[in-house]
Symmetry: C2
Subunit: 333 residues, 2 copies
């Protein structure tokens, strides 16, 4: 196996988050499903923005957040995703590069504007997301840098990529290149409603071995196997994929392989300020652990630590060096 | 005197803050004066942005922050300032309107982009600012809405307005309309280096009665009267203006009139996260107090409370309802 230039390369929607605090009744009035991500068109984006309160803009995107977390943990990280050459696109590119991530996807010079996600954070810290995909729609197989993929130990893909029409082709191209170079391919299921939209395709990706590692939270897992019984769903996933991690918020996570299930607790925190990015940063810690060859348990504890940092402030990108945080918590990375 | 539609109308540079945490040695390497505001051109803006870390975008602008604070305290508030019709301009307009401020200045359709301020926050919470004025340069006397000015109890102007070439004409036009309608005109000196650039003109504004109320911090006061002796400077200001407030960070403030000096302590806080907006929000509280006709002491205590809220988080706009905060602290507004 050839040497690697990256520990983790992520492919995902390049999104700027527009975050506002809100009350629960705003979600009800706007007919939003609390805790979920819904896709919106440009007219809906205008309507939601007009109605929502003062906001803060922070670079986001699920896989992009994960990859920034990888870099913050000291991992060698790269990202592929589509922005437009506009103000918010420049914000996205600046932030991910300033975080130490290699990001070279050429921006679109025409077409829809850079993707944005209107994130409404309720007083309980839960986030409800409304995504205008914009330029992220135009991620194309041509944007897949074959050399970079082949040089990355793990490729990390988000389920949300199944929404933009050409991105799934880019996803499949990347997975093929990765496997050709004997690399691992990881997938996050992203969102229960996203799983609902693409259940058959996701199961196919998993069962055909297009993905080697699956990240899911409980509601995504239940949606994938259309069962309300947790153990049934866990056992189904166990039989379908080599390695899975099921995140369970404050209950911690399960690491699931063919022969074993291991429960790892969440890192204790005082208060959830903004849950955005919890799953993304968990994946960052777990993937960095995998790339370092530590035990799954240790990788999961590192994921829990990274997730705990990001939910204690607004925004889904770490605000402190996760490498220092990990070292201070006894991790030897 | 005719009835009012607004308690406070502010005129200032319409700016989006681009905020990043940094270490002190970054400021040294970039030759920035810690704690000060410097004007930068477009090339410098690009250079600083490339060099600085991941950032968060939050609407800012000194007088704009004050006016948002006025609205958050339940005051009737309006703002005049120039944006461009671009992404960041729309962010600025959305945030100030969503905060409950009347904002109707027509955006520029061509010319430089919406102003931005690169704010570097060091671990001690101090902020160092680099402002690219962009579209704010083009605030013009035509942008002054005479009816709105005449209908506002207090007009609040920032010293920073003296930087853009036409804005000072707009400033003078607004002051004239206000006095014609028997309104009060307040000025913040903004920044010690800004005072250094326009000392003679600021003294002239104060001594001719173009402004009735002056807000200054210690370094601005020392710069205005070119003296290192605090009492000398305070007494000079006492003789030049009807009412002045001198803010002294953790030492609180002085309210200075011809016959009296009254010291009011700062509101106790745990830790300064980001000092950006402290003076702006102090002014908000004081002005709302004035508009309600409370004693100067009470107005200053309200200012101290609003300032304490804003320095305990990133960004210069309040993150909670200041009206509720004031009520919880015994103010009857």
């Amino acid at each position: 196996m050839a040497s690697t230039r990256f520990d983790v390369l992520g492919i995902g929607n390049a999104i700027v988050d527009v975050i506002a605090r809100t009350e629960d009744d705003f979600l009800a009035k706007q007919k939003m499903r609390k805790g979920a991500m819904q896709l919106i068109d440009e007219a809906q984006a205008v309507g939601i923005y007009d109605a929502m309160g003062p906001a803060v803009e922070v670079s986001g995107g699920s896989a992009a957040n994960t990859i920034v977390g990888v870099a913050s943990l000291g991992g060698r990280a790269a990202f592929i995703g589509k922005i437009k050459d506009d103000d918010l696109g420049r914000v996205f590119a600046h932030d991910i590069r300033a975080a130490g991530v290699a990001f070279a996807t050429p921006p679109a010079s025409a077409g829809p504007s850079t993707a944005r996600c209107y994130v409404l954070v309720t007083p309980d810290g839960e986030r409800t997301m409304n995504t205008y995909l914009g330029a992220a729609q135009d991620l194309h197989p041509n944007d897949i840098d074959a050399d970079a993929i082949a040089a990355a130990q793990i490729i990390y893909l988000e389920g949300y990529l199944w929404d933009p029409p050409h991105a799934k082709e880019a996803f499949l191209k990347a997975a093929k290149i990765a496997h050709g170079a004997e690399r691992d391919v990881a997938l996050t299921l992203s969102d229960a409603f996203c799983v609902g939209r693409y259940r058959a395709e996701f199961l196919d990706l998993i069962r055909t071995g297009t993905v080697d590692i699956v990240f899911a939270n409980e509601s995504e897992l239940h949606s994938l196997y259309e069962t309300a019984d947790f153990d049934t769903a866990v056992n189904a996933l166990r039989n379908d994929v080599r390695l899975a991690v099921i995140t369970r918020s404050e209950k911690g996570c399960l690491v699931v392989t063919r022969g074993e299930t291991d429960a790892i607790p969440a890192s204790p925190i005082e208060r959830v300020v903004d849950a955005t990015g919890a799953g993304d940063l968990f994946a960052a810690g777990f993937l960095v652990g995998l790339s370092r060859g530590v035990e799954y348990r240790t990788a999961a504890r590192l994921g829990a630590l990274a997730a705990a940092e990001v939910i204690q402030h607004l925004g889904a990108r770490p605000e402190t060096s996760l490498k220092d945080l990990a070292r201070d918590n006894g991790f030897d990375l």
